[in-house]
């Protein structure tokens, strides 16, 4: 049973279908159309730095909103009876199984001009453009990824022993104190994995901004989609920068998480 051999197909698979493609991206990013070494692709990629910054900004705001909305929900869920917990988990998971594009399309339907919300608002004499701006993009992101924040928070918080919370109360902590000194420190692993699961896809997603945003709201994923088909080199450079940026973010986040966990 102490065999290592069964992992060989996987190792080969990962080398061929994960490592080789990444090396190819690196190669294309560092060459020009003729295949000779060049940093031209990176210079062109730098031209999209405003889109990069916007993507990070949108991802940051969306993640923050998700966290703020999901935290109380995760806590409420974790303090219920077992059967209620299971039921609520199911309720939260069902929309995740809906196709990603259909969920975005639902918001296009809702927010469009003369759509249900627009019509309702105009009854009250409010006329605003609901779709085609950054707010709509962020709303779409929050909607897409909220379950990915709620579930890890809930999972971690459901492991917090209720007696600990009661003990803190008995020892004189008020509700805020209990939250700050007991629940929050113990929920940090959930916060970290929630942020990971929301930030990475929001920063790199494409289509959400195309569907809900205006022409000035496109994100870095959209740029990759747009230029990769015609210019492999610049597309590769942008993809590479995106991947490295996200890996650095994850390393920092996990480092931060470890420190916090030790301090607590």
């Amino acid at each position: 049973m102490r065999l290592r051999r069964p992992s060989i197909p996987y190792i080969i698979w990962m080398v061929v279908f994960t490592l080789v493609p990444i090396v190819l991206i690196l190669f294309y990013a560092l060459t020009d159309r003729s295949g000779s070494f060049s940093v031209e692709a990176f210079t062109k990629a730098v031209g999209y730095s405003d889109v990069f910054l916007r993507s990070i900004w949108i991802a940051f705001i969306s993640t923050l909103i998700c966290l703020v909305i999901a935290y109380p929900m995760g806590y409420i869920m974790s303090r219920q009876k077992r059967s209620v917990q299971n039921f609520l988990t199911m309720i939260i998971m069902i929309p995740m199984w809906m196709n990603f594009l259909l969920r975005i399309y639902a918001w296009v339907t809702l927010l469009q001009n003369r759509g249900p919300i627009d019509t309702m608002l105009s009854i009250f004499g409010i006329h605003t453009q609901l779709i085609g701006n950054q707010g709509a993009v962020i709303l779409g992101m929050v909607y897409e990824y909220l379950p990915f924040m709620i579930l890890p928070l809930y999972t971690v918080m459901s492991k917090i022993d209720t007696r600990l919370i009661e003990a803190a109360g008995d020892l004189g902590a008020n509700k805020f104190g209990v939250m700050r000194k007991v629940v929050f420190p113990l929920s940090i692993p959930g916060i970290i994995s929630g942020i990971t699961m929301v930030f990475v896809p929001t920063a790199s997603t494409f289509l959400v901004a195309q569907y809900l945003g205006g022409t000035n709201d496109i994100m870095i994923g959209d740029v990759i989609d747009k230029i990769f088909w015609s210019d492999h080199n610049t597309g590769s450079a942008i993809a590479l920068i995106l991947m490295v940026a996200i890996l650095i973010f994850l390393v920092i986040l996990n480092f931060f998480g470890d420190e916090e966990a030790i301090a607590a």
Partner: protein, 262 residues
């Protein structure tokens, strides 16, 4: 539940379900816009008559079943192997799986597309069903590895040895003891692979070539044109299927829990 908690939960559920419910309502609307023109089932009839959508549905299921089955086999074997590595090598293998899960879909998609394009020129093939299948196996397998690994760590090796002592050959002992012990992890891995494969748009989009259609790609084409209320009908049907599946799984779990309790 306290009142405030109840209200909050209700608000979250409203936020998550309202858009889907609106699509479901409009799937019965006898008109192409979001103005109510009366009840109809014609979009559903249109949907079932649309041979493109039906073949896309078939392709999606075929890829999902094959990819998750193959990923489950490779991933389970990998987990058994990885568990027997130690130290840095093991860490390297585990991190390889983690990186492949965490790297953005767009990057996975374009990098695979690059490779398939180059390989296609070298070996004279075009992207299509096979490249999509290979890509799906690639992103599914790490999920299987990650869900099986913790199970192996808690497995008792003496059980396997006992099976050998009691007259099983290696294969029988593997099948009857190891696979049996790992089954919950294997099943979770399979289920995750299956759902991710069904739901994938980005990676399929980059590796499908010119003509291979899956449901996600079909939905992309339809939503991009934003004209056909058939999308609403499709959403409604998918929503119902998902709810039914979830209820079945939950009831099964509940029964299993009860049996464990007894």
């Amino acid at each position: 539940m306290k009142k405030l908690s109840k209200l909050y939960t209700a608000l979250i559920i409203f936020f998550m379900y309202m858009p889907i419910i609106v699509l479901v309502i409009f799937s019965f609307n006898d008109g192409k816009t979001t103005v109510w023109k009366g009840f109809t089932l014609k979009w559903y009839a249109d949907l079932f008559r649309d041979s493109q959508i039906m073949s896309a549905l078939w392709n999606t299921l075929l890829v999902a079943v094959l990819a998750s089955a193959i990923a489950t086999v490779i991933g389970t074997m990998a987990a058994i192997g990885i568990n027997n590595f130690s130290g840095k090598k093991r860490l390297l293998l585990q991190n390889m799986s983690n990186i492949s899960i965490l790297s953005p879909d767009v990057v996975t998609g374009v990098s695979l597309m690059l490779m398939f394009t180059i390989a296609g020129v070298a070996f004279h093939f075009q992207m299509g069903f096979w490249t999509v299948l290979l890509a799906h196996i690639t992103f599914c397998t790490p999920f299987v590895v990650l869900s099986v690994l913790p199970r192996i760590r808690h497995m008792d090796y003496s059980l396997y040895e006992a099976a050998l002592d009691l007259g099983c050959n290696q294969w029988q002992a593997f099948r009857k003891v190891v696979v049996h012990e790992l089954m919950p992890g294997i099943f979770t891995g399979f289920l995750m692979s299956f759902t991710y494969s069904l739901d994938d748009f980005v990676i399929t989009y980059f590796t499908r070539g010119a003509s291979f259609q899956t449901l996600s790609i079909q939905i992309y084409t339809m939503t991009h044109q934003r004209i056909s209320p058939k999308i609403n009908a499709l959403s409604a049907l998918m929503f119902v299927v998902i709810i039914v599946l979830m209820v079945i799984i939950n009831v099964k779990d509940r029964k299993a829990e009860k049996r464990m309790g007894e």
